[in-house]
Each structure stands twice: as structure tokens, then as C-alpha cells.
Symmetry: C2
Subunit: 249 residues, 2 copies
């Protein structure tokens, strides 16, 4: 008899994630997740005050919280994540790159993260990446310069997008988010021209850092189950073959 969705589900329901991790081995290769956050008013210069980050830096505090959401785990940081911050307030745009695999000195609080960005922004830059501290790089350049190099599947986070739980998010996806202002029509036209999918994380309009937490969680769940049955919102079994029709190795 053909198994139905309901037949498969209960086997997972009463196991904890801790149990699941014993059953499904961690993958050898960790695909890299990329978050791109555009700070429309974010300063490109280091002359902001750590005593008043929101008021003096063009809301670098938002970008600091995005860094926290992207990298910080309870006991360590995510090595399979990279973050690009596009900063636009200044003589010309700059991009800061943070690589999880090389990051050091990252604390979860806003102020120490802002101090790392301050240091990066004090470097003289041109179009080449220049290293500031371990895992943190900076160069001149805007969103278009960055996305011209993106070849993985890209997603743009916007309220009217389709549910991110339903889209089968690519494990090596690039996720583009706006700050509190969002992206301009010009930016959006550019992004859509790349064939980017528009996704939304839920019914409420959230800050970029909260969206990143939700995307990371979805990818964590997908990664856990990619060697086994995927139980999630979405068409579980389009061919109607059920769990026996899946390759389990």
C-alpha cells in the first residue's frame, strides 16, 4: 500500500533533535551560506561613537545584530557562513566581508562587533579585498559589484515573497536583505534581473537580523535531514512513492 504523509510523520514527531543527530550523521561538506545586508545609511568611515552606535553610524547597530544572527551559536560560531555588509553613506560605497571559517574575536554583543567594523573602516581601500582582523575584509564597492560575482542560488527577503519554509532553500544560497529602509526600486530591479527568488519568513515584518535567525534555522533543519526523510512544509513526496521511494544513503 502506498504510504501517505501521515504514515511517515509520527516516527519523527517524538524524537528530539539530539536523537536525530545520532541517526543522521553530519555531512562531510558544509555548503557555505551567504548573507548580504545593505545598509543604505550606514557609514563607510570609522568616525562614529561606540557610545551611540545607532545615532552616529547610520544604524550600524542593525548590521552588528545581523552579524550576531548569522554567526553566533551557543558554544561557538558558524564556520559555514559568510556575511557581506554593503555600506553606502560616505564618499563611495564600501563592502565588508566576514568569513565564518576564519573569524576570531567575535563576541555576541553589539559594541565589540561595532569596534571590529570601526577597525575595518579605518583601512584605505580600493577594489581588492583587504584584511582587517582575522576573517574580516573590506573593499570599495556596492551591491552590484558584489552580486556580479554571486553564482549560487540567490534569494531576496521581502514581505510579499513566498514562504521560505516552502521554497526548498539552497544549502549554499545567497540571501539578500535590506536594513530598516529596505532596498530602492533600482536595487530591486537589479536583483530581480539576476533571477533571484523573493522569499518571506513569516506574516510579520521583521528586522533583517531576525530574518537571518529564521533562515539559519531552516537551513539547519534541511541539513539535518538531507541524508534522510525530509519532513517539512512543502510537497514531501511529489511522486507518491513515500519514504520507500527515497534514496536513504
Amino acid at each position: 500500500m502506498m504510504p501517505q504523509y501521515g504514515d511517515l510523520l509520527p516516527q519523527r514527531l517524538h524524537r528530539s533533535f539530539r536523537d536525530e543527530k545520532r541517526i543522521y550523521p553530519a555531512p562531510y561538506l558544509h555548503p557555505m551560506r551567504t548573507f548580504v545586508v545593505v545598509g543604505n545609511l550606514a557609514t563607510t568611515t570609522p568616525d562614529f561613537s561606540l557610545e551611540d552606535i545607532p545615532g552616529t553610524s547610520g544604524r550600524l547597530d542593525i548590521l552588528c545584530r545581523c552579524i550576531n544572527s548569522a554567526f553566533v551559536l551557543s558554544h561557538g560560531i558558524r564556520r559555514d557562513v559568510e556575511v557581506y555588509l554593503v555600506l553606502r553613506k560616505g564618499p563611495s560605497p564600501k563592502t565588508v566581508r566576514l568569513l565564518g571559517g576564519e573569524l576570531r574575536h567575535l563576541n555576541p554583543d553589539e559594541r565589540t562587533t561595532a569596534a571590529l567594523l570601526k577597525k575595518a573602516l579605518s583601512l584605505e581601500v580600493d577594489a581588492e579585498w583587504r584584511r582587517s582582523t582575522p576573517g574580516i575584509f573590506v573593499r570599495a564597492g556596492d551591491l552590484a559589484d558584489l552580486l556580479a560575482q554571486v553564482d549560487e542560488t540567490a534569494y531576496y527577503l521581502r514581505e510579499d515573497g513566498s514562504d521560505h519554509r516552502v521554497e526548498a532553500l539552497a544549502s549554499d544560497g545567497t540571501f539578500v536583505l535590506g536594513d530598516h529602509i529596505g532596498l530602492s526600486e533600482e536595487d530591486e530591479a537589479f536583483i530581480e534581473g539576476l533571477g533571484t527568488k523573493i522569499v518571506s519568513v513569516g506574516p510579520k515584518s521583521l528586522h533583517a537580523d531576525h530574518c537571518i535567525v529564521l533562515i539559519n534555522n531552516e537551513l539547519d533543519r534541511n541539513e539535518l535531514y538531507r541524508n534522510g526523510p525530509i519532513v517539512r512544509d512543502g510537497p514531501v513526496d511529489p511522486d507518491g512513492n513515500g519514504i520507500e521511494g527515497r534514496k536513504m544513503d
Copy 2:
């Protein structure tokens, strides 16, 4: 013919949350969500430095980020949330209460939130709630004093819990979380004695503030669909009656 899970799903898959909100009206009554965060080393006194919150306050920065996750939306704050912070480092424990319906002056950054807590901690307190600023109250008391008054469904967030997407979380639930240290065995025994369910948000061990983002998102989704078909991980339709078997009013 009896509709199957797969028959129901595609109707939702390609609608955005924005569309869904047009179809499913917002509920008249917003049940209150409660988050309780225990700061084992968090100071009960106001003599910490806003220039070094993590180093001088016993990690009040974690609790500030929890406040952000609990309340902050892109354009406003969640009125249907209340947060209790249990602070334990000092002569005797204190509890700070934040009520979304009354909160004013809450900014998303850590420093201004810490300044609000500093003000609250400067008040003389006894066992009665005392108002510090709009929506922020403080009193003497520990976790047990607080949970003695909790009568809604309570959940304790721990890594080995069952998946929060599968548990049908109560819309007026109370969610108890530990800080970076977690809860002691004594605390856990007390909480379990209350019949609290243990839930987990995902395969990775996350900070409390990230957990709160995930819980809020799950409850947002549940709220959107509670007058219509619920499409989520979990048994969608235990009676096999499909969408036609659901009360839609």
C-alpha cells in the same frame, strides 16, 4: 474523494504571507505570549557600565537581546508579548517585567535597553511590582515566585526537547529560557514539576534571543492560520477529512 495532504498544499504554496493576511482576518483577541529568561549571573544592581555591558553586568547584554527578539518588529513593537527577566547576582534575586502593551522608549539596540534596565534596578523593591518606566516593572523575587503565578501552558526550551514546530504551541504560552549557563538541576526539577513541556527550536544549540525569534515566528504563523487551514509540520488532518472537514469561520 477524500482530499489528501498534497491536494491542500499547493493552494497555499504560491501565495505570499501578504496575500494570506488579506484572506485570513486578524483575530480580535490577541493572546499574550510570555517569555521568562533566567540570568544566573545577571546583576540586580544598577552599578554596571553601559560602555562594557557584557563585562560588568553579568551578561545583561544577553537579556537585552532577548527583549529585542521578544518585542521588536520592523515598524513597531509587539503589544501581545510580556517578558520576565529573573536576575540572580546580588544580595537577593529580582525580577523585571516588560509589558508590550505599555512599553515606551524601547529601541532595538542593546545599550538603550540596558539603560532602561539600569533605571529599573535603581529602584528600591519588595515583593510588589514597582513601575520604573512605561511598561517596565521590577520587584524582589526568583523564578519560583514567578512561575507560581503562571497558569497558562508553559514550555521549557532545552536542546533535547521535542520540535517546537510539531508541538502545537499554545498561543498564550509561557516560554522559559536559560541564559548562556542554562538552568540548574534544581531549577529544572522545579519546572518539570509544573508539568512544563520541554521543546527545542532546532538541531543547533542557540542563544536565548535566537530561540525567542523562532518561537515568535511559529506563533505568528499559527495565529495567521488559526481561522483557516493549518499547513505546518505535524499531523495536518488526523481524521482524514481534509480541508472540508475543518471549521472555517
